[in-house]
Subunit: 98 residues, 2 copies
Amino acid sequence: MEINEKRAAAIFKAFCDENRIRILKQLRTGEKCACVLLDNLQITQPTLSHHMKILCDADIVISRKEGKWIHYSLSQSGGEYAVACLKALTDTTLSNDQ
Amino acid sequence: MEINEKRAAAIFKAFCDENRIRILKQLRTGEKCACVLLDNLQITQPTLSHHMKILCDADIVISRKEGKWIHYSLSQSGGEYAVACLKALTDTTLSNDQ
DNA sequence: CATACATATAGATAAAAGTCAATATGTTTT
DNA sequence: AAAACATATTGACTTTTATCTATATGTATG
């Protein structure tokens, strides 16, 4: 697998904050409204908005607007791509192409 | 899978720097001496030392001392654990336990 | 044993990231 | 139309991170 350092770093950055991991854990059980996510975190609304932007920009999370609410869910393809990148970087069994 | 936010964030932090990804790419083809890694990067020796500490502390990389050289290699178990964490956080097919 | 070499540590600096309060934007409801 | 509500944006502040130079530590060699 071809790994672009910049792109890969941006993807993994999405996972390297404690609060974003808490957000992802909430989304594992299905789509959630921003207000629900916020209720279960110790951060302000603008901070949540900032984190959701990072997760969406990295294609880890998908947003769906419905009236004044925004519903977030895990992106299956984004998650699979992140896992594929991580596997490519850590696989010791086969010597990959650089 | 149980996910500890702090631990998971520390693991993914190991992957979210461009130069650390370049280091991992070098290690995919097998164990490398620090001096070899350094030759293929645009950073100083202390900076490489700093990155290797982060990778080793996160259990992604293993170090082996031999005389004045230190040889680094990918940790199979560390890589597998990181992949398992990432899968647990991104899997949309089954609704995991929180 | 003195010198050269490989790596680590300390300390300083600059850039990046997380956070908040204040405010803007857009949507629904009264 | 005005008020209430959900989310985004702005700007400031603080913490963390990446980087460097200088120096220390430990090992091999002449």
